[in-house]
């Protein structure tokens, strides 16, 4: 059963085989952790939030509906956590360190590329939380507009308009920062 689908593992958890959760943790912890990193821009908070997310999967296992996408349900839980997080803490826009957020330095990445990535994350940090979330989900988590629409309970066309608008906004901030640096 090594190739069991996420949905099947989740059903197994629901049936009381709670250890099946470990399989879902190893499949999803990196994605969830990076979702939190790019949303909250804080490494420690992201570690805590990732942990809490999987605990909630266990606690609320009976609210998972059979036949629905596990991934969407998981990110529903994760999103709510980000919302709660921002009720408590406001991001200090310039205080985050890009090293906490960006992957560890790869040797084959050139200076210029690295600078661009850092500038991009700075620009991301200046977006309003809900707008940043749209880009985190669509660009970094690679979710389709349909899936984000389901997650946010909005129409696909509305999501697309918002994502495009946010990309424009991001582009303006990005080049403002880049010109400022040069």
């Amino acid at each position: 059963m090594s190739e069991a689908s996420d949905e099947l593992l989740m059903m197994t958890v629901q049936r009381g085989q709670l250890d099946a959760l470990n399989g879902l943790v190893s499949r999803y912890q990196q994605r969830v952790y990076n979702y939190f990193l790019k949303s909250t821009l804080d490494g420690d908070d992201s570690a805590d939030l990732t942990q809490t997310t999987f605990i909630r999967v266990l606690k609320y296992r009976n609210s998972y509906k059979q036949g629905s996408s596990f991934e969407t349900w998981l990110f529903q839980i994760a999103r709510n956590q980000v919302k709660d997080h921002f009720k408590k803490i406001k991001v200090y826009k310039d205080r985050f360190t890009t090293a906490d957020i960006l992957p560890d330095q790869e040797d084959d990445k050139d200076e210029l590329q690295l600078e661009r990535e850092q500038t991009l994350m700075r620009a991301m940090s200046q977006l309003p939380e809900d707008k940043r979330e749209l880009l985190v989900l669509s660009k970094f988590q690679g979710m389709k507009y349909e899936q984000i629409a389901e997650l946010k309970d909005m129409s696909v066309s509305a999501i697309k308009v918002q994502v495009h608008r946010t990309i424009k906004q991001l582009k303006d901030i990005y080049f403002e920062l880049e010109n400022h640096l040069n």
């Binding site: 949905e7 959760l21 943790v25 990196q30 990732t50 266990l58």
Partner: protein, 248 residues
């Protein structure tokens, strides 16, 4: 001829869609090209940023927190129906004691009802909440955890549960509890028969896996039948195909 809008450029970069007129314009217009390159830089940078690996310490913390929560959940489940659990545990302990000392006594205890029957009686006496499925589940889980020795009665009650219990959770737990008895005569065959009756995908898969491991020839017919069904769950189908390859 007008310039391309930002919206059109984003759409173009995302989907490749752009009217031939605007494509021609783009080929000649420097300001539109500049805009295109700016968006390209932002979008390609977003695409190139990878994921950070979860630090080992963080992974360890997550694993520990999850393990702790799992054991907490388990004890919580048991506590809710502690009266019944205690009654059944007593029986199982008695069963063991009998097994270990004299065969006469063990026969006596086996002659008592099966654990599942006992549960029904206990729950009737207690007239607690009607949460009988979770109570039955608790008992079957307990049978699996306590690992009582083989007895025809226990086996029969597990099969009855597997084939007839109204709750899929209880049926699933019964399948898991039966794994231990696979080396007993006819158990694998009875499981293959049971596979034909099951409709819940998780139970189907768990039976298929068990039968595959046992290389049970009697499973071939129900497996083939399963694969003929149009409405079959894709996970079940995958597992059934693998099992057929191995057994047949």
């Amino acid at each position: 001829m007008r310039h391309i809008t930002e919206e059109e450029i984003i759409e173009f970069l995302e989907t490749g869609a752009l009217s031939s007129e605007l494509k021609e314009h783009l080929a000649d217009c420097e300001s539109c090209q500049k805009l295109q390159h700016e968006f390209e830089e932002v979008i390609s940078t977003m695409d190139s940023i990878g994921e950070k690996k979860v630090p080992d310490m963080v992974q360890l913390d997550i694993a520990q927190a999850v393990a702790k929560e799992i054991s907490k959940e388990r004890s919580r489940g048991g506590f809710q129906i502690w009266q019944i659990a205690a009654a059944v545990a007593l029986l199982i302990v008695g069963f063991y004691a009998g097994k270990l000392t004299t065969d006469d006594r063990s026969d006596e205890i086996i002659a008592l009802q099966s654990q599942v029957d006992v549960l029904k009686e206990v729950s009737m006496m207690n007239t607690l909440q009607p949460s009988s499925a979770s109570e039955r589940l608790q008992v079957v889980n307990m049978i699996e955890a306590e690992k009582p020795a083989y007895s025809e009665k226990l086996l029969n009650s597990l099969f009855t549960t597997l084939n007839t219990d109204e709750s899929p959770n209880v049926r699933y737990a019964a399948a898991q509890a039966l794994v231990r008895f696979m080396d007993q005569q006819d158990v694998a065959m009875r499981m293959a028969e049971s596979l034909e009756q099951q409709t819940d995908p998780l139970i189907q898969i768990s039976l298929i896996s068990i039968l595959m491991e046992a290389q049970e020839k009697h499973a071939i017919k129900p497996l083939k039948k399963l694969l003929e069904q149009d409405s079959i769950n894709t996970d079940v189908k995958k597992q059934a195909k693998i099992a057929l390859d191995i057994i047949a």
